[in-house]
Symmetry: D2
Subunit: 338 residues, 4 copies
């Protein structure tokens, strides 16, 4: 079996997990190189998992002729430039979301993708590969819910993770770009339509620090789609119970709720607190399988010489809509999208 030799860019918590998935959990993939700023992390990964190449310079890594593909888990503002360079170097690219932090950046990526129609480019919106979302999407496509007309999406980080969030505040791009972008993508995907109008609100209910960046610790938005469907998004940083990613699709003949209890496992506890399920505390736990399945899809696309359903244009749209919602929130006005 020919293996796809991949270079992993970025070794933060998620990057490390992706690296492990490449190394061990997708048989047709091989972790050939890692690239990061921190030399100790590079060394650690290379030693532990026997990775032949390590780099602190991205430009250097993509010159490695053994590589077939790169997986970008670098800061969002670097994505588009790195995408262009990798594609120009003849490498397939899997990039973490968001595509870019400005629409201009995204346009650069679009051009690069168009210039290399023979290479696979894929965006890591992992919900599209989560087994429960995949199951729900199939039910919708089969007409099991009739006409879907309302999307409700919650993306809540547990309050226990607030320190990391606060440190990262200056670079996150804000709630809509950093978190709600997942719901923007999922709503477009599950409703199969584009939002045309929106109003975004929110506030600093627990952490005034967010206000310094004209942001809120919890925000929401109502959107009207081109096919008349409604969308309600809520993104927050103070969930008391866990990492709550919950999606509801209301249709004329059925309603689907995904993850309405973000249960950690199949254990139910009956004690002095009542009858309860403990909750997933972070995205790595909740989306463990989705991360593997998205990597598998990327590798399969390369092997089978086909393109993933999610395109670079989805990336641009998601970024643009997230920006528009940020604008609606900051100026408190109803906006037209596009």
């Amino acid at each position: 079996m020919k293996k796809i030799k991949m270079g992993m860019v970025g070794l933060g918590r998620l990057g490390i997990q992706h690296a492990e998935n490449i190394a061990f959990r997708v048989p047709q993939a091989e972790l050939t190189a890692v690239c990061a700023l921190e030399e100790d992390k590079i060394n650690e990964v290379q030693e532990n998992w026997g990775v032949p190449y390590g780099y602190t310079e991205y430009d250097e890594m993509i010159q490695n002729e053994e590589l077939d593909a790169v997986f970008l888990c670098s800061p969002s503002s670097l994505h588009c430039d790195q995408i262009e360079k990798a594609l120009d170097a003849g490498l397939h690219v899997l990039s973490e979301k968001p595509l870019g932090t400005t629409v201009e950046e995204c346009k650069v990526a679009e051009k690069a993708v168009e210039k290399h129609p023979d290479l696979v480019f894929m965006l890591a919106f992992m919900r599209r590969y989560d087994p429960s979302y995949v199951y729900a999407k199939k039910m919708i496509d089969e007409g099991k819910v009739g006409k879907p007309f309302l999307y409700r999406g919650y993306s809540q980080d547990p309050e226990s993770a607030i320190d990391g969030t606060l440190e990262y505040l200056a670079h996150s791009g804000g709630e809509f770009i950093d978190m709600a972008v997942h719901d923007i993508d999922a709503a477009r995907w599950l409703l199969d339509s584009e939002p045309k109008q929106a109003w975004a609100i929110g506030g600093c209910y627990a952490y005034p620090q967010f206000a310094e960046y004209d942001d809120g610790d919890n925000v929401s938005a109502l959107m009207k789609f081109e096919n008349d469907a409604m969308g309600f998004l809520f993104a927050g940083r103070t969930a008391p119970h866990g990492y709550n990613v919950e999606t509801e699709i209301i249709g004329t003949e059925g309603i689907l709720r995904i993850g309405s209890v973000p249960q950690k496992n199949l254990v139910e506890i009956l004690d002095q607190d009542g009858v309860r399920k403990e909750c997933s505390q972070d995205f790595l736990e909740r989306f463990d399988q989705a991360y593997v399945d998205e990597l598998q899809e990327f590798v399969d696309c390369i092997i089978e010489d086909r393109k993933p359903d999610i395109t670079v244009y989805d990336g641009t749209k998601n970024t643009k809509i997230a920006y528009d919602l940020t604008g609606s929130f900051q100026e408190n006005k109803l906006i037209d999208i596009e």
Copy 2:
């Protein structure tokens, strides 16, 4: 025990239930008179439950000197006029929601209530008396959820009830006034704040008939409150599973969900459809106890010479906000409230 002698006005499905509650389920209440347009219904209730007086004319009934109070379950547009007349006749008044169908009507009721400070006036927003809502409100007031900052409310009729809804379409006042008014009241009550801005959207996803009245079969609204909290309402007529009244309060330290499964009873069924709970199919089943408890509160207020928490001004505000949302929906614009 002195009993409060009551006259029931309106003998539709809900009116009959209220009449039965007065007659049998609140010991300190007595069903002394019924008033309706349909003579056969009057006769039936009088005979079955031994009710001494029956009327087809409201004005006649309120002259009955034996009466202490009236319960209005008449068409919404008659409420305020009937309230004024009953109070002027020296009767305590419990009125179904909404207070009135225009703000002008509501103002008439306000004046009448102010003119009779010795009489009890109460509005039948039954959720305020439902045991689960009461429990949640208490938890909020005790600080168990920290600062509540998001209200989500669903009010869905089962599709099985659509025929009745369609017949009544010309007179309902629309989704916001007829259904969402419950969530407007509950949001104001649970968030303890007033909405100041809103945007309402919706559509006819299954029943184009609603469009004839510039209404939707499913609608929603996003609201910003004076204390910065967010509110999302959804009201619909096509729920596939049952009568779904679901409320969520998200706070900085806890989240409460009321009725997220509108379960019929405590039976869980495991069969070829999976593991499931059957759902309540109408408001009479879901709010059975709430209707008794609200009646009990009204009677207790009279006996103990005190006023209920919900006031005539709540009624006016709820109606006004429902109108504002209707306007936002019909003109598709972001509106300021008040």
Copy 3:
């Protein structure tokens, strides 16, 4: 409306609740007399609820010619004697479970009932009147679960109630007679068959005091029924989460679970403990409606001159089986029943 004038015997926690139900919650019933050992309780109830007669002597009460019926909530060992006397005095009788504490006592009650075929005698096995059990029984009778072949019943008191249990230990008759008798009755009712063999086990896992009475703080039994069905009972006194009465019927085509989460209300709480429902803490809360409905059935039987489904022979059988299980537990042997 002619009302059934009732005398309530016993004013413990449950007796008081029954008295209130007679007085206020079943319209066709009237609380005409109360009988108890404690004069202050009698006075309190008489004053609060305007009850004309109060007695400390049962024999005196049943001479009151105004009475139509008595409700016995006295110590179990007095039931059968009081049943006989009341029937002989021409009164209808509703008796709390168990019928008696020995089979001999039960036989006395059987004879008395046979002697007065014109009078209504009913046993207060309240699960038979609980809305969820009634719903499940109907599904079974309609064949919705196919052939029911396994009954699983849990009857668990919350550990918070242990003090009361320990005080009462000398008089309870033991776990099988005091608690498991509910599951014995429910299994016979739902499986529509009689147990023919059983083995009972248990132990003192938290409270050695039970051993003084040759009893366990938690016990269980496996039973084989005449129709080959299986029954598993578990009765315990140390439930950490609440008053857990849970019943499962496994059939060849469907499975029903009643009360598998003994939820207090419809509120779901999401907090640092996960996603949870709080639990009912005692029988009065869990079976509130069942107690009203069983009283209603008794009154309806009198008014409509018919007999309840549950008979005095059910009472005898339940007591006998509970005794047999006690024997199996104490002697640790497999027993034949009957």
Copy 4:
């Protein structure tokens, strides 16, 4: 990284899954050989996954000097003989449950294991590696449930799988040996005690074919453990809803329920059937991760030169107890174990 080269024995549904797990899902394992009766299956697996060696003769395979270990998923009656041969050939052994179909067979395996203390022998009771069971076991060991005193275990196959079961009936060894053995092992593991007495019952409630083998289509057993704890097992073949493996541990301070809804995924469906979760339909879906984790543990034991917690003696005990329960069922008597 040195990889453990494994030979897979048996390529039925479960064997194929194990083969895939060796080949792709445990990085330190390598699928070097497969052995089965069906040549086409051998060829298929060899071609698809690039497996170097294929055998129809077990004795031949274990002579392959490249092999480090074998995984036995052959008919149960062959296990012990194959275990002895593999160990004698210097191979580590992972064997599917049950260890053997008679205690005599098990003793042969015990001796072989004792003879080769340097080799890893492990039994594939996969529940011990399922993340939810592992989590529950940890909670119990940490004292979170106080003293555990009741084990309840359900092992139900969906009725949809009945055809396969009926075909296999002559060779399964019966419900207790084929299915309940999982609960026997789990009860011993979670209660940390051995059963000393038991009574087993059951019947043919839907499929009289089981009676031909002196077996039932649904059976149960009550067990008393040496530490006084109680155990109730239920094993059935007619579950209407899915593959229901459900375990409850009741302790003096907490209760744990594992898998009480055998949910397929995180999707909740609200439709005309109520609010429901669809269920896992087979063991491969339910225990997907457990099968990987148990293989990982086996490989880790070899690499780290240590022994798994589960021993060959557990295998003998589980088989013996299953036999004893079968005897109790067939002769309908209370039995002493050991």
